[in-house]
Amino acid sequence: MSSQSCVEVHTEWGIVSARQAGRNKAKEIGFGNVDQARITTAISELARNIYLYAEKGEICIGEVSEMGGAGVKKGLQITAKDVGPGIDNIREVMADGFTTSGGLGAGLPGVKRLMDHFDIESTSGEGTTITAIKWLR
């Protein structure tokens, strides 16, 4: 990863600055209007999860590249890391409509659909790390 910037999330304002950082990076990489909205929304969901369930964590945003069939492709990677309680029931939280906060239950499965790559690692009592990538079309 060439450059990466991180935003700490422990207040609601952290959510706002994380998504602003995400939008700027997405613009810089050259994402279109719609993908910018997808990326910002995904960051918002991830940041809110940290704020709601872990109270403290950080969102890191950086550019990634990968060799593919048609040459090098560029992308934006979001890493959301927290030291919260962890998620015991990953399968459940990835199901549409599952919620413990009274929300729409669209959060994590929504992020997965908004992005091209989604990876979640969680250890009970230690914390959760979520990595998501959107590739430039």
Partner: protein, 118 residues
């Protein structure tokens, strides 16, 4: 930060010009409901033309605002949802099915008029 609410005859007009963080959204919900109560408004248009992002939380607050306003006797129309925002919402599986929409403020007002008269 507060979202200004304008009164026009029996209607309330809101143009959301600020980035909606959670607190602002909840504050807006409260402000709108008390304004409806105070003015006895029958219709509300919330214009979202300048909103660049709606995540699941904001969507939930908006959906609830509509439902609550309906309970208080005011019809709500959301207008000006940007294509990028609409696509993102659909990707997330958020359809806001119960919420009436219109292209812009003008068509929103027309829609309100039709629904209230017809």
């Amino acid at each position: 930060m507060r979202v200004p609410i304008l009164k026009l005859h029996n209607y309330l007009l809101i143009s959301v010009q600020v980035e909606l963080d959670d607190q602002t959204a909840l504050q807006f919900q409260e402000d709108l409901l008390s304004k409806i109560h105070k003015e006895g408004s029958t219709g509300v248009v919330i214009d979202l033309t300048s909103v660049e992002m709606i995540d699941s939380f904001i969507a939930k607050v908006l959906g609830e605002v509509v439902e609550m306003s309906n309970l208080m006797g005011a019809k709500v129309v959301l207008t000006g949802i940007q294509p990028a925002v609409a696509i993102t919402l659909i990707d997330m599986g958020i359809k806001l099915e119960e919420v009436p929409t219109a292209l812009d403020l003008e068509q929103g007002l027309e829609k309100l008029q039709q629904e209230l008269e017809g």
